[in-house]
Amino acid sequence: MDPSFLLQLLLNGIVIGVIYALIAMGLSLIFGVLEIVNFAHGEFYMLGAMLAYFVASSTTLGYWPTVAIVTATALCLGFVLYEALLASLHGEGFERSILLTLGLSMVLQNGAVFLFTTTPKMIAGSLTYSNIVLGGLRVPVLRLYALGLGLAAFAALFLILHRTRIGKAMRGVAQNRDAALMVGIDPRAVSRLAVAIGIGLSGLAGAALAPVYAVDPLMGSAFVFKAFAIIIIGGLGNISGAALAAVALGVLESLMSGFLPLVLVDAFAFVAMIAILLFRPQGLFGRGVRV
């Protein structure tokens, strides 16, 4: 077997795994702090990609300013989302939160269909077809950018959570909301920030991937279900676990796609999720170290 074939699959897998991680980390953060499963997460990823498309096609701003604008907008949207919808849950009503975010997902998706139509939109720029070629290996430059952004986002999130006061506050609220309140932490402010960062990460993912994939109102559902599987495999609310599970899943899926029918590859994440739920419900990395 040609080793470059395996290396190409491995490389593809690492890139797609980091892309999965970019989406799953935000989902995991919001669950970790608020114990809310955000079913609209994929739609915020889609809105990020849609905004990136419109910024890229109507301005002369380059890739990095577009990513910055979209991420900042998504952060703001996260604040609004928390204050307008999620704050009223007061950390209660898990079922209400599911119905609320599911409803929001439908409103956002159908609103986007109404406004933008389902015609796929493509961002074409000078880097669209640029590749780094090493022997028989090819990696598109824009995927490498997405890889870099994913790694940077993970590092930044890790540092925020483990090296800053606000990160400690988030972990405190995640561990025990009432105890955090008693020691002077404002759970509402912390939750608001967690949602803003979570939605910001989905916006960042949308902006990073808009030049890689076709942009359309239904693109969110492609990744979000896999992201749910990833955060369950990694341990609900455990960001490092989600990131590791995402990269592992991306690599395994890619290696499998080199030899097995794609239908089996697509099913793998969900079979793994079912197995985890049955035999290790706390996830591979457990909830003890969450957020």
Binding site: D2, F5, Q8, L9, N12, G13, V15, I16, N110, V113, T117, T118, T119, P120, M122, A124, T128, Y129, N131, R138, P140, V212, Y213, A214, D216, L218, M219, S221, A222, F223, E253, S254, M256, S257, G258, F259, P261, L262, V263, V265, D266
Partner: protein, 382 residues
Amino acid sequence: MASRHLQSIAVGAALILAAGSAIAQGGPPIVIGSSLPLTGTVASFGQHSRWGAEMAIAEANAKGGVLGRKIEIDFHDNRCNPAEAVKSVTQMLSEKKYVAIHDGLCSSVALAIMPLVERAGIPFVVANASATSIAEKSGVGGNKWTFKVNPTDASLLDALIRHLHKDGKASGIAFLGEDSDFGRAGSDGLTQALAKLNLKLASTDYFQKGAPDFTGIFTRIKAAKPQQLALYAVSADFQNAMRQWAQLGGGVPLTGRPLVDQVPAEIMASGLLDGTTSVQPYDPSVDTPGNKAFVAAFTARNKTAPILVSFESYESIQILIDAIRRAGKTDPAAIRDALAATKFSSILGTTVEFDQNNLAHNNAIILTIRGGKVVVLGMSKT
């Protein structure tokens, strides 16, 4: 100013009266029901299908309608989902105001609608769904109420494989298609067409609709070095596949039914897809007077050029209206019998007739990409 307003109102009233006299008041409008994916992953195709149908109806009404009555069409969204289609078509059939049901667009949807129209005894005109099994189950196949206006994948792929075989390019074809009746009809059609030449597909793979990443499967296909790759993908899946194929450097010509008119311009211009062959029921560049007029009128009306499904819906509605006219009444059985006796002049320059499986036979267009441009190699009756 007031007199100008009165003048405008008078002119408007005269125009309305003129239109009213063109469509003599012989009764309420004749209503056709249509089930299309107007939302969901293939909604852009549903929209084009709708535009084609609306244009055919507008033209017919401008000429006085049919049987002295105006024609209308009601569109119901099926999201390319058989369950949604069954729900909306069942509702349409229960209302008993529709003289026929049009389309479905997705093969799985059309196959789900077929038993419903058979039970209700209402003609079903399939414009876009391409699965061969639709025709196999129609006419002498059992369902007398279903008429398939567009060619089957099998008939199209027969024409393509014959063409490729002439140039010695029919062997070593790898297949990649969406995991749906559309994709499976493509692999079945190719398998059967190749079997007639004692050949086989080099490999067969299906992907899940909406899954955006093709890098893994493309890496595997490229490593296997097939002579050609038959790609069955539409809408965002097709765009994602094309971009990732180009990013991985292509290297294998495409064949089957790749949507050559929807390849991003920069990929087309790069020459990466040169040597690609495609068979389609339609291409806007077909050089016939009827097609030129259709393309011009459609583009003026919808601000975009027609695609395959726009043409198919346009002609299928024309065929249905022609059948209602020849039936002389809106009785479903009379329309069904008139449909079976259709002799319709297509804008592709041939006469369309239904065979014993209620399958229409029109020209298939063999296309290639040469120098970054789509070139019509020829037409071959299916």
